[in-house]
Subunit: 314 residues, 2 copies
Amino acid sequence: MLKGSVLAKEEIKDLEIILSGNKNELKEAASKIGISLNQFEIIDAKDIISTEEDPTKIIKEKNESSMAVGLRALNEKNIDAFITAGSTGALTVGSFYYNEKIVGVKRAAICPIMPSYDGEFLLLDAGANLNCRADVLVQFAIMGDIYSRKILKVKNPRIGLANVGIEETKGPKTHKEAYALLKSQETLNFIGNIEARYIPLGKCDVVVCDGFSGNMILKATEGTAKCIMKILKDCYTKNLKTKLAALMLHKEHKEIKQKLNYKNYGGAILLGMEKPIIKAHGNSNEETIKNAILRAVLCIKNNITTEIAKNIII
Amino acid sequence: MLKGSVLAKEEIKDLEIILSGNKNELKEAASKIGISLNQFEIIDAKDIISTEEDPTKIIKEKNESSMAVGLRALNEKNIDAFITAGSTGALTVGSFYYNEKIVGVKRAAICPIMPSYDGEFLLLDAGANLNCRADVLVQFAIMGDIYSRKILKVKNPRIGLANVGIEETKGPKTHKEAYALLKSQETLNFIGNIEARYIPLGKCDVVVCDGFSGNMILKATEGTAKCIMKILKDCYTKNLKTKLAALMLHKEHKEIKQKLNYKNYGGAILLGMEKPIIKAHGNSNEETIKNAILRAVLCIKNNITTEIAKNIII
């Protein structure tokens, strides 16, 4: 987090970063890696909330954790955005409790950006709301459309509704209702239902889904990629011949790994909150943290909040 | 289908195969590939139902399609199992309409067998029931356990409940209830919730889920594998050096492709029906069809129906 903050400050000169965490531990960590803490404001937090803990603790026993303290500061102080690599569950619960949604937004959604065959796509919701009504799915589509245009610079984002089949009549009642509502939204480039098998192939730019199935799509994709990479690694290290071949493919494999690496995708925004709240992956390195911070800056500069407030349908 | 039927008959001498389809078209196809139709009984069917059609047509306009005719014959005649490579939707609707479930089984589930890093796993339900109550999920676990033991020869199948987090308190109400019920089933090796990212890594042998999220897991996995394979292919055909390296890895890549190929996995059974009903992939070749037929035989020989009837909890 410290290294990533320094990298971000190097890229954006007037960027002010406030660190929420245990002051003594921060000092120790900073001196160990030779970073001066003078360039940061620090909000002292006595505690932490881990990914293993019940997320709801952030509003009770763990309300002095760095994440809780940071989220309250975001709400109470003159701060523009919040970034964390901590527990997604705690972040969702904490944000909904300590922070404000954009007026008119019914539910905020976790929106990871994921690699596809020929680009990337936005998935929302990936787990903040397990059940979603049709009108909530429509709001996700509108917010995703804005984020895709303004931040990911997609011209006319193709919006798909994740479903078990492409026909309008497919899926549960919610999805049939959402389909009808989305079809009638003239401002959206709604391409209809999308089956999960076509998502990684890049058939749309924004995938709308409830948080439960979104979580399944996100994690099944991650797990499958990891599984195949492991199988390939086994194959490449099998014998001298395969090792030599792998060496010859070194540059190309590096490019593929880079492409499939979530660390390059700037984190997942909790879209619908008044101020950008961004979740970086738990395994983030300094580059990932820098990207997440720059992503937050981009959201602020592009007035994502105002855009959503202006376009949301209640 | 014809070639696969011949291959299956070659492996099992006393196997009787009945073909459901347009007699004239079957004759034409058989003579084209030099297969004698004398070895088969034929049930003439005037029509077909395609994957593009509304599945519910199988009980109305398309009740003379080869699938409808075949399913009715399964119910009315002395036939032990049914195999198709046609529309999954039509098969589900048709089976529920024309055929019987095992006494005590509330819902039948589509169960594909999928490759994992170090083996394979059974996923149920993959799309036959979009919403499932907790007691239905428990029945899926019991049926999956039996299929895994008897057919896939897994000694003590690890059963996981697909969910957004591993803790007992995670997920929607149904999943919390199902967790509690599964934990109290002493005959099951229930390992708790499983996040979708650990499924392809082989953390369990039976994945229990509702049909909607199961469909997302199945297809997101398929799509991601396809996407990565496409990316790898692009990489291998990039230039002379990469082509040479790919040539050196030819044998290993063939093995990987073989491992990831659904065609080797014997099709997806509609588990819970009185007689084995098996769905082979739409892109099946003769080898896949043979495997699906042999799978049906294995189910009959292992008395899957009796085993389920004996162990199901109502």
